[in-house]
Amino acid sequence: MLIDVAVNGITAGSVYALVAVGMTIIFGVLRAINFAHGEYYMLGTFGAWWAIETVELPYLVSIPLAVAIVAVIALAIGMLVMRRLIDAPFQIGVVATLGVSLVLQNVVILIFGGSYKMFNGGWIEPVEILGAGVSEQRILIVIAALVIFGGIELVVRRTRFGKTMRAVAQNIEACKIMGVDVPRVVTGTFVLGCCLAALSGALTAPVTGSLYGGMGTAITVKTFAIIVMGGVGNVSGTLLAAWLLGLMESAVAGYLGLQFRDAVAFIALIGVLTVLPGGLFSRRERF
Amino acid sequence: MPPDRTAALSLRGMAKNFGSIVAVDAVDLDIPQGQICGLTGPNGSGKSTLFDCCTGLQKATAGRVFAGGTEVTGWEMHRIVREARVIRSFQKAVVLRAMTVEDNLVLAGQMVAFPGFLATFAIGRANRSGVRQLRERAGDVLDLVGLAHMRHADAGKISFGQQKLLQFATMLMADPRVILLDEPMAGVNPVLIERMIANINRANRDHGITFVVVEHNLDAMKALCHRLVVLSRGRIIADDTPDIVVRQPDVVEAYLAG
């Protein structure tokens, strides 16, 4: 049981970590919480599902296809909506991204219907680890998460785009003055963040097993809880906080019951915020 | 040294540190009732921080504050305003832009007309009569201050100088004992500066309100203040009538160096 809980926890945590890094880099450049972030995760899942069911592609191909589809959608939304949030008061960001989430969720429900769908794909054959059966997919998820994390760190630290991203996150006014195409950086970062969410969705789908249009909402809030706990903009903190949440959820689901799982993130969030209310959006942000 | 309980405002050992930076360094100050006391000094000398600590906007690292004999150390700003009637102005955030000039004054007077938290939930006749009286009083104060013609204008639409006059008027509505003005003449044209000085003098003469004025405009200070205190690097380096103080060599040096 303990191994199960640990493995499930690390797996879920790895997924959450990817999504959370996406949200945190978007926040870094835009100073806005993407309330629709979970929806891109959902779209990644649905994209992969659609590719397998309708176009009959193998799972391995469905993943990049799903991410590509979401990238296009994110690009459109980035240009139409997210750009306008630069320098906007935060309430506008909340409402606008909430509006986006409503549209995305319900378009999916409109097209595919509101019922739960089964995901048929991925490698769910179990493998023996420490005396417990762990599905191959979970191992893949953890490895993929670590690889992608490393990749993101590389992008952020070594590439030109990464440096521009950090510059905009640190001082957007200075960037504007120096001629940086801030809207382009914002859109690019946004697309990257959403692709991370979509990738997580596609990777997790075989493990979660079922998908439905409204699955993104819980993800958005859990992700927010993670970045609060891990420190906004702090990538290694996010990783730790994500694994911590994954483990806590797994423990609660295993020992108390699955129905309490989703409340864990909220309670953790409220707990953290009660103890350190001001510490979240301070100027001390690092990439 | 024990605090002066007859003074309008008495500070003992007031100190404020920001980490390793000492903004205010063990200041003792007594301001007798009815005085117009100027407070000046180069940028970074701690004037605004001193104000903030006296009025509850920031918590002092050390020291005690007494207003009219009552200790107000550590009190929250709204409590100092309500109970000790020590009211301060702000340099930039000056008026409530969403309301008219008159409504700004009504709001400021509410703490007098509706004392107590529950009293402010008054509805019906109690509300209407109280507000009517406040509006009448507001009219009087506006006449005094010279803003009567702007009574129904949106506070966000009048000029900056007029906003500062309005801010002054709101402070009068609250029945103050001590008024702390944070650079009331910065960014204001000379005509309105004259009016501001006249208003301060009148309020001081007619109602005995004690004033502490932070300003850089030394000419205005000379004309207005009974006494000038100079701060440099968090300490008082001069404290006398304005004529004497502006000629002291260490004051001149502080201004040139700072």
Partner: protein, 322 residues
């Protein structure tokens, strides 16, 4: 200014006259649509108070709405209490629950406050689903007794749609009057000041935390009332009441109608809820429309549609005069 107020008063009077006569010329389904919009009006007024007047974006309204509904249902089912008692209890319990929730929440700013209040709705839903002995979990409560208007256990039992409608209308009018009294009071003025500039309000003697808590508790009470009527009308309640669907509808009513205004929220309630009920718009299409509306409104006219309309009317009138 004077003609504005005259116009607004005339608008209200006209609308009230229309609403009073409505069952006479509208079909039963349309009257039902009006009842639904009146039901949502109450929590929408609460949201308007906390968002439009106190300046805090709270997602907790539906949590209090649901709590009010469950309290009212349980009282009616277990003790057979009359409607007015259930209503008061629902409102009071919602307000009382808001107090311990307000303590952590009101220390937060911006996103943290929004997410914390969202969290309340989720926790409320989890509680409703799992406290099976009280709420029967996902099955919910059904056969909630119809409202009885009387001093104790006997009195007029509300049965027909028309009777429900007039009860809803009466509640709506009372709520609007209460809201108006509140925002015109000195406390209401303090709340507006706190929304504009909290430090400045404190410097004018306003105990800002107390007013923010008061706004939070009062909005919860508005929502609780709405929930009480809701459960006696639909006679069922289940944890789905805490779904984001309803909370989002509230946001559309307030933001789309005119945040910070009374007429705007009332109009918003009728336009967005009644209209979509009457047109029998499917929920997913409704949500897409709401989502697009939120985006358009927040960028185009953030103060809401009704104030925009009033401004247009004013410029037309001024153009006519010249």
């Amino acid at each position: 200014m004077g003609t504005d107020r005259g116009l607004r008063a005339a608008g209200f009077a006209g609308m009230l006259a229309f609403l009073l006569a409505a069952p006479g010329f509208l079909g039963e389904y349309q009257v039902h649509a009006l009842i639904v919009s009146l039901t949502f009006l109450l929590p929408a007024l609460g949201l308007n108070l906390i968002l439009g007047y106190a300046g805090m974006l709270s997602f907790a309204q539906m949590a209090f709405f649901g709590i009010g509904a469950y309290v009212s249902a349980l009282m009616a089912m277990r003790w057979g209490t009359p409607f007015w008692l259930n209503l008061c209890a629902a409102s009071l319990v919602a307000g009382i629950v808001a107090v311990p929730l307000g303590f952590p929440a009101l220390r937060l700013r911006r996103y943290s406050f929004v997410m914390c209040t969202l969290g309340f709705a989720v926790i409320a839903q989890t509680l409703a689903k799992n406290w099976v002995s009280l709420t029967r979990g996902d099955l919910g409560l059904s056969n909630v007794p119809r409202p009885v208007l009387g001093l104790w256990s006997s009195g007029l039992e509300i049965r027909s749609v028309t009777q429900y409608y007039y009860l809803a209308l009466a509640l709506g009018v009372i709520a609007v009057l209460a809201f108006l009294a509140l925002v015109s009071s000195p406390a209401g003025r303090y709340m507006i000041a706190i929304r504009e500039d909290e430090t400045l309000a404190a410097s004018l003697g306003a105990p800002t935390w107390r007013y923010r808590m008061a706004a939070f508790v009062l909005s919860a009470m508005f929502a609780g009332c709405g929930g009480s009527f809701y459960v006696h009308y639909y006679t069922v309640i289940s944890p789905t009441i805490f779904d984001p669907y309803y909370g989002n509808t509230l946001l559309v009513i307030v933001l789309g109608g005119g945040v910070g205004t009374l007429g705007g929220v009332v109009a918003g309630s009728f336009i967005f809820v009644a209209l979509s009920e009457v047109l029998r718009v499917a929920p997913d299409i409704r949500m897409i429309a709401y989502g697009l509306l939120l985006i358009v409104v927040v960028f185009g006219c953030p103060e809401g549609l009704l104030p925009l309309l009033m401004r247009r009317l004013r410029t037309w009138r001024r153009a006519d005069a010249t």
